[in-house]
Symmetry: C2
Subunit: 198 residues, 2 copies
């Protein structure tokens, strides 16, 4: 197979990219700035060796310690557990969280061989105790596995003086009841909150 | 800026890829097969030097002559003029065309400095005469520029014994009148065809 078809094949393996988009991108690259494609291919070839897991929280970083763990201004008594490194940047973009993270790189899923040990929950417990964390927010996705992971963490910390909380799930802001699925509506009803008069 | 953010930035410049998809792809690559990303980056870094324009038709190829121009089984009396190399593979996928191509790498567009000379229409004329082409199908996109390019080619060949045709435009097959734009409906009406009884 020639180079162009191979490149189209690679792009079509990217998440969310079909054959047609892959082909459009490949042809576009052939007409794009030469320095752009050179910089891209160099960074791609280097990224896997440059980017490592933060030795503290497991987030992706190019230094031994990620910029969040390394920052003196973060609240070390608050920890947010997430499934994937990308969730860290998603939460960071909201600007609503000033604590530390712990990236699990997965969720509890016995059928996939993901137990507490594979998730490194022991290391998470050690961090919590070292920092004297007061609250752990479990921001794993609102799935069955995410929920059981949250429950497991809550039980693991039952004897420590740590509040374990779970991010709320319900209707998306700006969403419409009509398009929401039953489970989300059920959760939104169950997690309903009191409106207090000011 | 670190490698991950640079890579996300590159991907978000790809056509049809937003910031969110770019980020999803970059994180996905960090967990993808190492050999995959290595093969991808190598092909990307090589593609611009390996892939050249066919000296005959202008299509992308890795040999001096593209596989279509090089094939003895193509009908050399039929030529299809297209705007972009990607249009060649689009038409090839239909399996409906057995002639040669001529890739214009653009359309006539005086405001963008694209005149007959920039499009290499002289070279196209030479090919048509060399091969004794009987029909030129202008498959430039159904835009104002595509239409004037077709008209220009028709005039250029007025004194030759060559039929110049234009691909039909109208409603997409399987489409719905309700969702078609006015111009396409107008064209579909104008280009209406007689239904003959068998």
């Amino acid at each position: 197979m020639d180079t162009l078809n191979r490149v189209i094949g690679y792009f079509s393996r990217f998440p969310g990219i079909g054959r047609k988009s892959a082909s459009r991108i490949a042809y576009w690259l052939l007409e794009a700035d030469k320095s752009f494609i050179q910089a891209l291919s160099e960074d791609l070839s280097e990224m896997r060796s440059r980017i490592v897991r933060c030795r503290e929280c497991g987030n992706y970083t190019e230094a031994p310690l990620c910029s969040i763990c390394d920052s003196p201004s973060r609240d070390r008594t608050l920890m947010c557990a997430v499934e994937h490194p990308r969730d860290v940047s998603t939460i960071e973009e909201t600007g609503e969280f000033r604590g530390l993270y712990h990236v699990l790189h997965g969720v509890l899923s016995p059928l996939d061989g993901m137990g507490p040990e594979e998730l490194g929950l022991g290391r998470m417990l050690a961090r919590i105790r070292t920092f004297g964390v007061k609250e752990v927010i479990v921001a794993a996705n609102p799935t069955l596995e995410g929920d059981s992971t949250a429950l497991y963490i809550a039980r693991m910390l039952a004897k420590d003086e740590v509040r374990v909380t779970r991010i709320a799930s319900g209707l998306p802001v700006g969403g419409d009841m009509e398009y929401a699925d039953k489970l989300s509506i059920a959760r939104a009803l169950k997690a309903r909150q009191f409106l207090e008069n000011e």
